[in-house]
């Protein structure tokens, strides 16, 4: 394995993992924009990830696709075998397991250990080298159970029934996880969705997810502002305080993200409610996972690399920073 400008590279199989630039052969761990890009010649991913990439126009007609369900093996040539294990991050998210010459490398992509009703949970794969992210690798990041955060929202709907609760969520993953968790918490009103969230929500539904009734905001006449009062509107984070939100009566801007744990971050986004909802492993889970894989070597790709490396070394685990570029910390 090597780090190249295009991304993490597996030399014997001549293949990149989540490359930033178009390459001949790529393994894609999941559909988020900073991992899945367009223009690759040949793509290996889970069927769900391929479907997401297709929805986002990351796949061209000439792209050769290999869809691998979790656990199914494929020979990449030169003695390298690839299979995917679930990563618990979003629908279709996977750890790429590469086996070569009796040793096993797992590139985990982005992952989390907290329960998520909208995707398959993380599977620990024992390995020799574990390649991990470090997005939330500081002891201050201890993510609360999602139920508590959802409860905050439900309580606010009750105490401020005249306000439209606009929740900023990423279109892929966060949106569906928040909706599903709200349903499980007993919320029965329809959700109102921004146009940018529609296609991916439908895609989740095609994989058997049920979000109850949801209505496009654009289907409600502009004059009927009252419809949204005391209801939940979901939109991309940038829209909560933008022109788009002016169509609502007394909007209450809310952001659902792992960064919301830091008060100042929430204030920067001008959020009046901060829901700590992260699709990444928190501090405790990062360390626990690295330990559970039994890997002798941990390679760290992106995030707060220094802190995780330090903590792992203190526990006697070899850890090194891969100095990857191009990962955007604001995207989860």
């Amino acid at each position: 394995m090597q780090v190249r400008p295009e991304g993490l590279y597996c030399a014997p199989a001549d293949i990149y993992i989540d490359p930033h630039h178009p390459v001949d052969r790529a393994i894609i761990t999941h559909g988020h924009a900073d991992h899945a890009r367009s223009g690759h010649g040949e793509v290996f991913a889970t069927p769900e990830t391929l479907a997401i990439m297709r929805t986002r126009y990351y796949l061209k007609d000439e792209t050769a696709e290999t869809g691998l369900p979790y656990g199914q093996r494929v020979d990449l040539g030169n003695g390298v075998t690839l299979w995917f294990a679930s990563a618990g991050h979003i629908l279709g998210s996977a750890q790429a397991v590469l086996e070569y010459d009796g040793s096993r490398v797992v590139a985990a992509g982005d992952y989390k250990r907290h329960p998520d009703p909208s995707c398959v949970s993380f599977e620990v794969v024992p390995c020799d080298v574990f390649i991990t992210e470090a997005t939330f690798a500081l002891p201050v990041f201890q993510h609360p159970p999602l139920e508590i955060e959802v409860e905050k929202l439900l309580r606010s709907l009750k105490t401020l029934p005249h306000r439209t609760h606009i929740v900023g969520v990423y279109a892929l993953g966060k949106c569906q996880r928040v909706m599903k968790t709200l349903r499980l918490a007993g919320y029965e009103e329809p959700f109102y969705l921004h146009g940018a969230l529609k296609k991916l929500t439908q895609l989740y539904e095609s994989y058997g997810q049920d979000f109850g009734e949801w209505i496009m905001v654009s289907d409600i006449p502009r004059a009927d502002k009252h419809v949204f009062q005391g209801k939940i509107v979901l939109c991309p984070p940038a829209q909560i305080n933008d022109r788009w939100s002016r169509r609502f009566e007394d909007p209450l801007p809310t952001v659902a993200s792992g960064w919301m744990q830091i008060r100042a971050r929430a204030r920067q986004k001008r959020a009046e409610m901060a829901l700590v909802v992260s699709d990444h492993a928190d501090w405790g889970d990062l360390i626990r996972t690295c330990e559970e894989t039994g890997a002798k070597d941990i390679w760290i790709t992106h995030g707060r690399v220094e802190a995780l490396q330090y903590a792992l070394k203190k526990r006697g685990i070899n850890a090194k920073a891969l100095n990857m570029i191009g990962r955007d910390e604001s995207v989860e």
């Binding site: 500081l138 002891p139 201050v140 990041f141 201890q142 744990q261 830091i262 008060r263 100042a264 971050r265 929430a266 204030r267 920067q268 001008r270 959020a271 009046e272 409610m273 901060a274 707060r304 220094e306 802190a307 330090y310 903590a311 203190k314």
Partner: protein, 529 residues
């Protein structure tokens, strides 16, 4: 305690002042005494004691957490209390509480314990709290609450609850103490307005507007206005009933304990508005000298003798139980003059009225102020017909500061800000060249630029990083700031030998090569005038 934490969260995340007032009103109506009184004390900043010291929390944390990881976390979060609130590692065998104690129980418990007891109680509470409750406790305990709600808006909320003007609250506020049982008894209609006639209390001071030279100078004439020096000390209100004297800061904080020499010397009954300075051997001292006397709980005899406190009286608000606030400034100044000549005060001089016949004379006086090495900050110009009102009435008093000193300095180090700015490099250390072509730091500033400029500087810092020293980021010596400051003093604490007073970023000189920035000798030349 959980309601208090919830309230702080709600206030913190709410943007509009009106909405904050409504949230606070609801809380004050639901929560009983004495908790609600302690709450407004915490928000308005009137608690007179810490529940525990910052270094107690810090040392607790150092015992429990790796210092490197703590520093990295703190640097990322931008603030100590929140870092601890989030990262607090539970005790190995935590004692579980069935319920969190009420706010007043927490306060009473901390106050009744000794040092070791305070530590244990803090651990017990932190172990039983959620991150946001911990944040509330730490902020309360160290009196560092910043939730975007001012003392004034607390008073406004109280006034609205009782349907009275805010002046009514202002008139009694400084005579009341937490937890404000008498105040709430009055608000609830169970008692009369608290009577404070026998107490020495602070009444909010009258403030000046910065002059707008184009618009305001034409309004001024020798017939309608007087001019005085604007001294560079601290503005105080001195209140005495003959037996006792109190000295209050401009914001109403009782600072008598720092100036027993001054308080003990007063024989005049009344309330005087003036500037506090030090005066040694008949010479007024600089702000730097005064600073040695500020914030001393119990100044030593030697310090008092070396730097005796002194007042230059600008105004008089009360004289022997008569309120003069409704008199014109002209009348008040006459009464002040009479009072000080009838009962001379060893530590109080009257502020000299500066004669002028034209606006040109005022310009000239202001020039003179600039030649005092910072002792005089500029001019005060006051309408002689103005009555004394608290706050900042329009066109009554003007302040006309002398121009700030300006220097082109080179950015050397940057560190991330706190609070809202925690993800930006917003605190800058800058320096001047010495004769050997070495840059020496002369000061720090973290304001004077717009939000847009902050983003640009932040970007520049990120693209020009050199070494890192903990949270401090060294940068390439390539960006020049035009730095404004009010004065400079020689200082042994700084490597350059100088300290700037009130430095701020005046302009960002994207165009200027760092090599052409100012030398230390330019600073020396400025302060030697």
């Amino acid at each position: 305690m959980d309601e208090f934490a919830q309230l702080l969260d709600d206030l913190y995340f709410t943007n509009s002042n009106l909405a904050k007032e409504i949230i606070l009103t609801n809380y004050l109506r639901q929560v009983s005494d004495p908790d609600r009184g302690w709450t407004i004390a915490a928000i308005a900043g009137t608690l007179s004691f810490d529940l525990f010291k910052r270094n107690v929390i810090k040392s607790l944390m150092m015992e429990r957490m790796d210092p490197f990881l703590f520093d990295m976390s703190k640097d990322y979060v931008g603030e100590m209390s929140e870092t601890i609130a989030l990262a607090w590692p539970q005790s190995p065998e935590p004692v579980r509480l069935n319920r969190l104690p009420e706010l007043h129980e927490v306060i009473a418990e901390f106050q009744s314990r000794n040092k070791a007891g305070i530590r244990d109680y803090l651990v017990l509470l932190l172990d039983n709290m959620t991150p946001s409750q911990r944040w509330a406790l730490l902020k309360l305990g160290t009196r560092g609450l910043r939730i975007g709600m001012s003392a004034r808006s607390v008073k406004l909320t109280l006034a609205k609850m009782k349907a009275v003007e805010i002046d009514v609250i202002e008139s009694i506020w400084h005579g009341l103490i937490p937890p404000y049982l008498d105040l709430f008894a009055w608000i609830d209609g169970r008692a009369d307005l608290p009577d404070l006639s026998d107490k020495l209390t602070f009444s909010p001071v009258m403030l000046a507007h910065p002059i707008d030279e184009d618009k305001d100078l034409p309004r001024i004439s020798p017939e309608t206005h007087i001019a005085e020096w604007k001294w560079d000390g601290i503005r105080v209100q001195l209140s005495s009933n003959g037996a006792e004297t109190k000295i209050f800061s401009r914001k109403g904080e009782d600072i008598t304990h720092s100036f027993p020499d001054l308080a003990g010397s007063v024989t005049l009954q009344g309330v005087i508005d003036g500037e506090l300075l030090v005066k040694t051997g008949g010479e007024l001292g600089s702000f730097n000298d005064l600073q040695q006397r500020l914030n001393k709980k119990k100044p030593t005899k030697a310090l008092i003798e070396k730097l005796p406190a002194h007042i230059i009286a600008y105004d008089i608000l009360e004289l022997e139980n008569d309120s003069l606030r409704q008199e014109t400034l002209l009348v008040r100044r006459e009464r002040l003059g009479e009072a000080l000549s009838e009962t001379p005060q060893s530590r109080i001089d009257i502020s000299e009225i500066l004669p002028f016949e034209s606006i040109e004379d005022l310009h000239y006086l202001r020039e003179q102020a600039a030649q005092t090495g910072g002792l005089i900050e500029g001019l005060m110009i006051k309408d002689v017909s103005s009555i004394y009102v608290s706050g900042r009435p329009k066109h009554a008093w003007y302040k006309w500061k002398r121009d700030p000193f300006l220097l082109d300095a080179v950015l050397m180090y940057a560190r991330r800000g706190t609070g809202k700015r925690s993800s930006y490099y917003s605190d800058y250390t800058f320096g001047l060249w010495n004769e050997d072509g070495e840059l020496l730091p002369i000061g720090k500033a973290y304001f004077g630029f717009t939000d847009e400029e902050l983003k640009e500087i932040d970007k520049w810092v990120r693209n020009h990083k050199l070494q890192r020293f903990g949270p401090v980021q060294e940068v390439e010596k390539g960006l020049v700031f035009e730095v404004a400051f009010d004065s400079a003093q020689e200082s042994k604490r700084h490597k350059s030998g100088y300290a700037l007073r009130f430095p701020r970023i005046h302009r960002i000189r994207w165009d200027k090569p760092a090599a052409e920035a100012d030398k230390l000798s330019s600073l020396e030349a400025l302060i030697c005038t």
